[in-house]
Point group: D2
Chain length 298, copies 4
């Protein structure tokens, strides 16, 4: 296991597809989905994140998901840990190191306190127990914990194990500007790509997020590297309406899985309860957005 900074670019945050009949992990769909990510050339994959519904999987299911991904692709892999406490987070990361082995690019752990020293202790404890490089995820909507960008930077600067920060505390562009100015680790945006252009302008290393057309995230990041703002804007425009559509509160996960299904990348779009499914009233609009993206792609 390396503790090297994550490669810049787009890290695909992998959904966990379920079978329609039993809501079990759909191994075949998962393999197909990550195969698509490999084909389009993402920098790596993030598995068992929020978009992967990790908090709704049993340990055996988490293990199965990791095994399928590792068996399917040879990409670098970040594995999410859902817990905000040390011992269960270590347990999650140990599962990741056990199954993913040398393919593990980092374990993603949660900011669990606004205090930079306590957070550094948490990161040190997880790393000491597992040896894994750490992606520090700042996602207050999920954890209920808010840390200032200055304090987050102070925590990350204290530890050697941090390989990336995933910045998902809005407003992310000024947070990313602060984090990149104060730390040496790459900072990735998330939140479905709603602020991708502005996060790149603020110094982000790319995107690590769920979006049904990860090709759009790649087009934007690659264009940014090649031609800066104007090129990235032109590359991303066609995707932005769908990005915003998918970023809807609470139902975004269901919309994205349905979009993946309509693209033929997974077989069923079910999400585990009590998460709501995609409202029927959005059915036609999703078709319109998908058709628009596809027509503009040609």
């Amino acid at each position: 296991m390396a503790t090297e900074p994550l490669a810049p670019g787009v890290w695909g945050v992998v959904a966990t597809p379920f079978t329609e009949s039993t809501q079990d992990v759909d191994v075949a769909s998962l393999a197909k989905l990550v195969g698509h990510y490999r084909r389009i050339g993402v920098a790596g994959l993030t598995v068992l994140g929020v978009f992967g519904e990790a908090a709704r999987l049993s340990t055996a299911e988490k293990r199965a998901v990791l095994e399928v991904v590792v068996d399917s692709v040879d990409l670098p892999i970040v594995v999410g840990a859902s817990s905000t406490s040390t011992a269960p987070a270590i347990e999650e990361v140990e599962l990741a190191t056990d199954v993913v082995g040398d393919q593990l690019a980092g374990a993603m752990v949660q900011v669990n306190t606004p205090d930079p020293d306590l957070l550094a202790n948490q990161l040190d404890a997880v790393h000491a127990a597992t040896g894994a490089g750490l992606v520090v995820q700042d996602y207050p909507l999920v954890t209920g914990v808010s840390i200032s960008p200055v304090n987050l930077a102070a925590a990350v600067e204290q530890v050697e194990s941090a390989v990336a920060i995933k910045a998902e505390a809005p407003p992310t562009p000024p947070a990313i500007a602060t984090l990149t100015a104060r730390t040496g680790v790459p900072v990735f945006g998330g939140l479905g790509g709603v602020g991708l252009l502005d996060e790149l302008a603020a110094g982000s290393a790319g995107a690590m997020t769920g979006f049904s057309f990860p090709e759009g995230l790649q087009a934007c990041v690659n264009a940014w590297w090649r031609g800066g703002y104007q090129a990235a804007l032109e590359a991303y425009l066609r995707y932005l309406p769908l990005v915003n559509f998918e970023a809807q509160a609470r139902i975004g996960l269901a919309i994205r899985k349905e979009a993946l299904r309509r693209r033929g990348l997974i077989s069923d779009s079910g999400v585990r309860t009590p998460a709501p499914g995609m409202p029927e009233t959005l059915d036609k609009q999703l078709d319109r957005h998908l058709a628009a993206v596809e027509s503009m792609e040609n």
Copy 2:
């Protein structure tokens, strides 16, 4: 005063500009700003809303703002009431009816309870005391009150005074679909226009929101009426990156006022404390977005 449904289209939510030196209401800038709205042909204006920083103005300042707007333009005007309680909301609406008179298209009152019957009582009480038509604003981020779309519709259906609903409880597209299916009043989207395309598809009557280029909201709505999804998409694309940039949590108001300043529509971009100003780290990106919108406009 009429209690007729609001006209469809774009209602400009008016910022309250302050003078740089004293942070007093900048009467000249306000007149210039609403003059711009009139020139571009908005359906009406919304004054003293959240984007107008109404909750940070004294009663005398609110009166002054209304007087300037009424003296400057002959557009229909919606006036916001910030309070979630009956007596102070009535007091705010009375100020509106007093100053705005026949130009008053509606008083915007807040959803203050999840209970449809109690909400109907609130609307009835405000209308009975003031005679004003009511725009029912559902904005849980500001009020802390969450109501289901079904219950909001049930409340609105009980009263005769509702002239519109302003739907700002994400996810807004399915909420608007429910509200338009169950009530006979026009429903407007807000939230800076982030979901405008999807809100129109869900049946919204238009947009009532702050955005530094209201021309973009108009272009989208008009294109929707003329040509549906595809036309609206094409009209709105050029504005979407700036829409998302301005919609950043907590700092969106400051960004929009700075954008208005750079467009020459107001003299200073100050917001009243304790609201934060626009972070310096966003300075260049705002210029890029404004230049991109303007270059694409030609």
Copy 3:
């Protein structure tokens, strides 16, 4: 107007009674209620606080409440300002200085930011505009703003106008210990007296809170001064079950008004919507608690 520290002891937080038929301010009940406070010898009164339902009163009603209180008793008076913004808070304090005049012991303003310097600016602005001494209320449940005790102390230390702190951010005992160690102003507990013993032990100057038997708060504080913990404990025990009963979330205000009604201090226990009334299921238990307090008093 003085800007001297508030006198230690019990400050009665005055409910605003309404008439049963019209829900108007019940002037006679209000006069009777504050007369009771004067008779039992409280240090002063706090009017137009949260327990006074100030946020649900019109300006005319607030003025009427203040006039009745001033006409009825010659006690020092603290007047609450509900707004978290500068200009409307100043407007509220100006009403207080206008009506209450020399009887005004302080205007109670809200902590509106976690930033100590911004908070100091807010306090300075309100004082500069009104001349009033300020009671700084830290009540995150109502304002949504959380400040650390260290930062609250830092703000208060920067200003000369603070005459007291009202500490209502749980856990209050350690917060009060910090505030009294770092500032020279008296700190009062609130929250219905649930932590009064521990707040006194932490250095509080007394209680400023609504409770249907303010005699109990007085007995506790006086006993503390006279005999310390053991005396205060013995004095307060008989009231604690009722204190806890009245401190119930959301319905506490309704319970307290009903208790005041049963004591004969006000004529009707109605609270303004959308606040809920006392659930019927609590009816007998309130009688039991009141009977227990009264029997132990003899």
Copy 4:
């Protein structure tokens, strides 16, 4: 495994003691602590609840805790499941059935949705997979989920597996009145016993909560059964100041563990990070409260 209603009375919610040096589970202290509970004759024990810091333990540690408890006492045991999702909750309950076997009186699962049908589905799924009787815990402060008492009752009435409800959504007394009127299962109060008198009056079957003197909870409940309100009041008074002291937000767990330590029931009072320890400023007051309880006991 039985799915019979829990026995009424006091269920001791067991803290998880850690060793001072390594913060590992302190097996000897845990055995001593549950031995004390057995000696005083509680109705049963609740292990791996919030007060047991279950969410901060690894699976191996949870198993160890359960093994120690089962080896130490033959009391009926409720085992908490922290997860709000079905699959991981089943995994937690399976651990409980595996280790606790016939001693398992119930598995405590969380309310995870405001929708009664979805909640009934969740309960059915956990029961179908494990066979365990279920204690339905309604604790919005921890889960972030709020359900109305009416909807909670509707969910419980749909399932046969519910053996109790633990009502910890304030205000609990009216909620318990609703739940006991509408369901046939016993309802227990928690929240440190702050509302125990009022919960008993509302029909609760007893208390299931952490408090450093569970003898006080027992005295209250037993007195209630024997002599009603007046007897329970007299029995509980001496404990109420300590009850309120221990119920302080965020630091209550640390205070209780320190009180248990001073009573000689555990060796160290450490709580796992990022939970805060007991503030030093409370040190003497805890001693006073403990001395007062002990002096009054004789």
